[in-house]
Amino acid sequence: MNLLLSQALIWPVVLPLATAALCALAWHRPAIQRWISLGGLTLMLAASILLLVQVETEGTQTVAFGSWPIPFGIVFVADRLGAAMALITAVLALAIAVFGLADIRRRQEHAGFHPLYLGMIAGVAGAFLTGDIFNLYVWFEIMLITAMGLLAIDRTRTQLDGTIKYAVLNLLGTLLFLLAVAILYGVTGTLNMADLGRVLSESEPSAALALVAAMFLVAFGIKAGYFPLFFWLPASYHTASIVVSAIFAGLITKVGVYASFRVFTLMFSVDEGGIRELVAVMAAGTMLFGVFGAAVQWDIRRILSFHIVSQIGYMMLGLALATPAAMAGAVFYIVHHIIVKANLFLAAGAIYRATGTYDLRKAGGLMGSHPILALLFAIPALSLAGIPPLSGFWAKYMVIDAAFADSAHWLAGVGLFVGLLTVFSMSKIWVEAFWKTPPLERKHARRVPMAMLVPMAILGLVTLTIGFAPEPFVLYADATATSLLDPKTYIEAVLGPQAGLDLGEQQ
């Protein structure tokens, strides 16, 4: 038991992987797969909580697989950011799996939904916890392959269309990522991220390294949906079934954001080579184009997809400023956004269950017929729009306040303006789906099952908790930002105190 605890770092990745294998073993028995999946994800949640507690009490955790000496073997590293992301992944994966009990159809289970879903969760958790840049690429590939399977699970024409759009651009992204890793390995001779951080801080700027930084930015930008690389996202997310859309909306883009945060704090700095200006312009573009795109849409899922893009812009804003306050805001924003955005997609699924349509023009009257659903939608919607005192308000406040403090007034202005337009979008869904009298009167009200309402309520409760008691979360985000901007702690945790000393002398 003690051994299991001492290696808490591996379980958030190994457990979903083993669970995916067990589900594949029970290929013809979807009922069994369902319970294996829920059991595995519950264990993953427990392991992630354990990991977070360990990181908080003992500092950054490191594991080298197969006892290979660092930096030659593959390492997993959990610092504050990685552990928090792993925990949020586990929370979301479990909540959405419960929602799936009511939403996933028999056909989709026979097509392998559970193994693919768990495989993707393992990929996401692996990306958050790995300390090896090539290993990060492997997790990206695992995510991509399982995501393609999940997107195309119904094998309809629209889904295949969406999947191809998704696959082509994301393959391009991962290819760029692989090329960047290859060049980086050629220049530095190491793949361990902590070691890369050490070596790169000592090496002279060169054309090759500038190219690598640009390639990383583009590769992660495609994954995360940065302007001008986001257009695949609204084109593919809405074709998937709602459970898949929800987990994609919550997690997949954030892996790209996480990877940019990791690479541009630990290995490269945004201060060098005009990256800061580039990221700032991309952040503003991401915010604006996302929110404008949403304004003209009528399909709930498309509105929400465009809003993923606009919200990603706020996180980039934090990276562009790269002050401790801005980074803390961005970290807070990521956590808030993952919960809220996935919850909104789940709400869209529940609205579909209640009205039989995703088209807002055909929906209506839910306020009277489904008041609980209305309440559960209102929490994440108001939070996304940044209405105090919900989590989105604190997130936006932290980021925009940091922008003013760093006298990046135009970025702060864009952030405020986009926040206003977000209110417009959310109120559009509210008015159309909940207040308006429905264009077609239904004879029988369609019930929304408990398995849908409970996960939404739990995610809503998390949003409310962050909103009403933001202090522990803000403190955690502050500590995370401080350690992100001081890569020495990360490097020392992996390579030992000596490496940190060398680094100190260099500076």
Binding site: V14, A24, L25, V63, G66, P115
Partner: protein, 135 residues
């Protein structure tokens, strides 16, 4: 494909290729080879049967669904790391048993069999589907 010569030789080929795949898997211990290549050869052995005698027959020979086979492989990979965790507290550190005559067995073998099964299952899931869809 209704060719008697092909059908008859397919069985011989199947046995030979399967034996070769297991040899490659074993050889991969210290020399070129291993689970990945072995799994590919084994999947080709079953693909020959599927081509000669039809996919339903090949599926019956396999008995379980190809994806279950792949799942078993991933699970073996997971299990192969556990002894290391329990013995010296590091996941995937492989453990060895040495015999006096120089023969050795290790948990890497379990991992490699896992790789073999993943490749076999994954390839067959693909190949069977393609052959079934072919006119």
């Amino acid at each position: 494909m209704n060719s008697m010569i092909f059908t008859a030789s397919a069985r011989i080929l199947f046995a030979l290729m399967l034996a070769a795949s297991i040899f490659i898997l074993w050889r991969g211990h210290d020399e070129p080879g291993g689970g990945f290549v072995g799994g590919l050869v084994a999947s080709m052995a079953l693909a020959v049967v599927a081509l000669a005698e039809g996919v339903p027959r090949a599926r019956r020979m396999l008995r379980i669904h190809p994806m279950s086979l792949a799942g078993l492989g991933v699970f073996l990979g997971f299990v192969s790391g556990l002894p290391g965790l329990l013995i010296d507290g590091s996941y995937l550190t492989h453990q060895w048993v040495f015999f006096p005559n120089g023969f050795k067995l290790g948990t890497t073998m379990v991992f490699d069999i896992g790789v073999y099964l993943v490749v076999l299952g994954g390839m067959l899931a693909l190949v069977f589907r393609l052959y079934e869809d072919a006119p």
